[in-house]
């Protein structure tokens, strides 16, 4: 009996302990300064994307202005850090994100009371209008938003605990990692409460929710305020991380980024926005090494996911959970067979994508960089120099694009048949 509860406890807490250990050792695995910076950004984005998913994934509210709560909290954080340092108030940096969280909650309540009266398309538009309102105000209220240069702050000037001044990036990493873990646990716990279930009910059918005796408006309002709280913590950590709060923090690009991160990761599963946040952070740092127009590829990825994988990357992964049944040998052999089929399909897909990318890059080069001459470094790699004045790369790119596409379509039936065989096999061994 006690063994049973032990293993059940280990199952529910084990994943969090493992996550904590992973966060602890991650900076030693990726020990360069650049990767520490990347991990800090990813941690902030994880909190932000999960808070966004409290709206889109859990409650079914599509917001185009979630950066408002992130950005305003960042400004409040920067101002209060400056105030704390100036007056020598003994509050350590570790607790400063609480200020951001309270600010996010405050603005969430303030704007939420106006905007959550309706769901659906109307809510989406109001969120956009409010975001524009706040962003345009940033040009007027200069004493709060600091105009063009923003509000800068110094995280090392606050009270030191155990001699840590949070100057080095590694110390900031642990600060962000601790807050990320805390917020992820809290947001996960929230989905398991009766309130979390009511949010899902409001997403599925607000009319029924009213029949049962709940007020969907109020559920939306609470969810919105709490999402503001966590977005505020994320914004606060962002201000601590770069020691600056700028008007762009409340801008449309920031709101768009979190929407993309959550949706690409998949809004139907709790883990989705985490995956999406990590992927989007990595892509936005790495892709710019390869191309100037990486945002275009980003947009194409987004549209592709909307059209072909509406449950995002986590949805694609979760589709494979159904093969994970029966004896362990059968599970692995099924997944290996599927993997083989995917590799076969991936080869023409990669050829198709390479053709498309080459074509896009050549169009970009010809239309924007004619002054640099016809030679183009494909993907910014000098060993991949392409002559855009010659017809050969254009024809080659077109052939790769179309041949890759048709070969890719040709492999679909194979993948589908492997899929169905594995599914039948899994159902047999599961029953």
């Amino acid at each position: 009996m006690s063994n049973n509860t032990m293993s059940a406890r280990l199952k529910s807490y084990g994943i969090w302990i493992a996550a904590a250990l992973l966060l602890l050792i991650l900076p030693f695995i990726f020990s360069s300064g650049a990767s520490h910076t990347t991990m800090c950004l990813a941690g902030i984005m994880i909190i932000f994307a999960l808070s966004y998913n409290m709206l889109l994934g859990q409650t079914g509210m599509l917001s185009f202005g979630h950066a408002v709560y992130y950005g305003l909290a960042a400004f409040v954080t920067a101002h209060s850090m400056n105030w704390l340092a100036k007056n020598g108030v003994p509050i350590p940096l570790l607790l400063v994100p609480v200020v951001g969280g309270v600010a996010g909650l405050f603005f969430g309540i303030l704007f939420g009371s106006v905007s959550t009266r309706r769901g659906g398309t109307a809510f989406a538009m109001i969120s956009l209008g409010l975001a524009e309102l706040v962003y345009s105000s940033s040009l007027i209220l200069r004493s709060f938003f600091g105009g063009e240069e923003g509000i800068s702050t110094d995280r090392t000037k606050l009270l030191r605990v155990f001699g840590y001044n949070f100057g080095p990036q590694i110390q900031v990493y642990y600060l962000i990692a601790a807050w990320t873990l805390l917020c992820v646990v809290l947001m996960y716990a929230l989905t398991r409460t009766p309130f979390g279930r009511m949010c899902n009910a409001v997403r599925e059918n607000p009319e029924r929710v009213e029949f049962v005796g709940y007020n969907p408006q109020f559920v939306r309002f609470i969810a919105f305020s709490l999402a503001g709280l966590f977005a505020g913590i994320a914004g606060s950590l962002a201000a601590i991380n770069i020691e600056l709060a700028q008007a762009s923090f409340v801008g449309a690009a920031q709101s768009g980024a979190v929407l993309l991160a959550a949706y690409i990761g998949g809004v139907a599963f709790f883990v989705g926005p985490i995956l999406g946040a990590i992927l989007v952070t990595l892509l936005s740092i790495k892709l710019s090494d390869f191309s100037e127009i990486w945002l275009l590829y980003f947009g194409i990825l987004f549209i592709t996911i909307i059209l072909f994988a509406p449950y995002g990357l986590s949805g694609l992964l979760m589709m494979h959970a159904q093969f994970w049944r029966g004896p362990i040998g059968g599970r692995i052999s099924r997944l290996l067979k599927l993997l083989g089929a995917y590799v076969v399909a991936a080869i023409p897909a990669i050829i198709m994508i390479a053709g498309a990318v080459l074509l896009i890059e050549m169009i970009h080069h010809v239309s924007q960089k004619a002054a640099e001459g016809p030679m183009m470094h494909f993907l910014r790699r000098p060993y991949l120099t392409v002559n855009t004045a010659s017809a050969i790369p254009w024809i080659g790119a077109l052939i790769a694009l179309f041949a890759g596409f048709f070969a890719f379509r040709f492999t679909w039936p194979t993948v589908a048949s492997v899929w169905h065989k594995a599914l039948a096999d899994a159902q047999r061994s599961g029953s």
Binding site: A122, E132, L259, I306
Partner: protein
Amino acid sequence: MAELIIISTLNGVLYGMLLFLMASGLTLIFSMMGVLNFAHASFYMLGAFLGFQISQWAGFIPAIILAPIIAGGLGALIERYGLRTVHKHGHVAELLFTFGLAFIIEETIQMIWGKLAVDYRVPSFLDFSAFTVYATNYPAYKAFMLLFSIAIFVGLIFLLTRTRAGLIIQASLTHPNMVGMLGHNVPRVFMMVFGLGTSLAAIAGAIAGAAFVTQSNMAALLGPILFVVVVVGGLGSLWGAFVASLLIGLLQTFAIASDWSLSKFLGSSYTPASGTILYDVWTVTIAQIGPILPYLLLVLVLVFRPTGLFGTRDT
């Protein structure tokens, strides 16, 4: 003062008519499919850039004819092969699709034409002063834009109320199933309306691009205002969109021409300390808060009259 009022009214009506060219398509598409096309302003931008490119190759007149046709055709294709595919995943997926589309159109335009403004100019045969009000010369091109957009407006009203195609469109708005029963291809009507709406936006872009700045951020600047127009006017109401377009056009034009601020209004009897938020509010001029006014109006309308000015359905 009278000079300022006349010029501001003319400019405001012009801006309002351009807004209406876009808002009419947006609201038609919305009332038909329930989709708020996030990328509508992107088609306006596409119209401007196509207009610029074609005017470089073939001159201004072919540009304002061909650019809307190309953009509208593209819009119809996107409806057929994109929007219709995501329709089964619900309205959120549709809205997200148009959001992604806006993103891609902006990035594609930056890929081809760059981030800086292109040199899209008023054609030389319209580059003179049409008339003079007191001491201000009113450019002929602006007069042309005004007349052109009024002509399109009249044409649209004629199309919707006096032709068979307009009857089918109107019927499809309210009774799509019945129209389908009568043997009309409702999905094709939807595709046509989407194409028509996007080409109206592209017309506005092709003629406005030459007078204003043609740059890859113009959709991001205008898109939110367009949403304000259709919400303030009442979602799905063409007359509402018309009135709201003119209202916002006039509001913004008059705001820009005004340098009143609280401190000027109340005199210098009281001045808050410099560097505080109160000081910012005290000294800001109406011209500076011009960009905020539409959004303030939006919030006010949503709080006090959620159906919009002429809307029948609750947003």
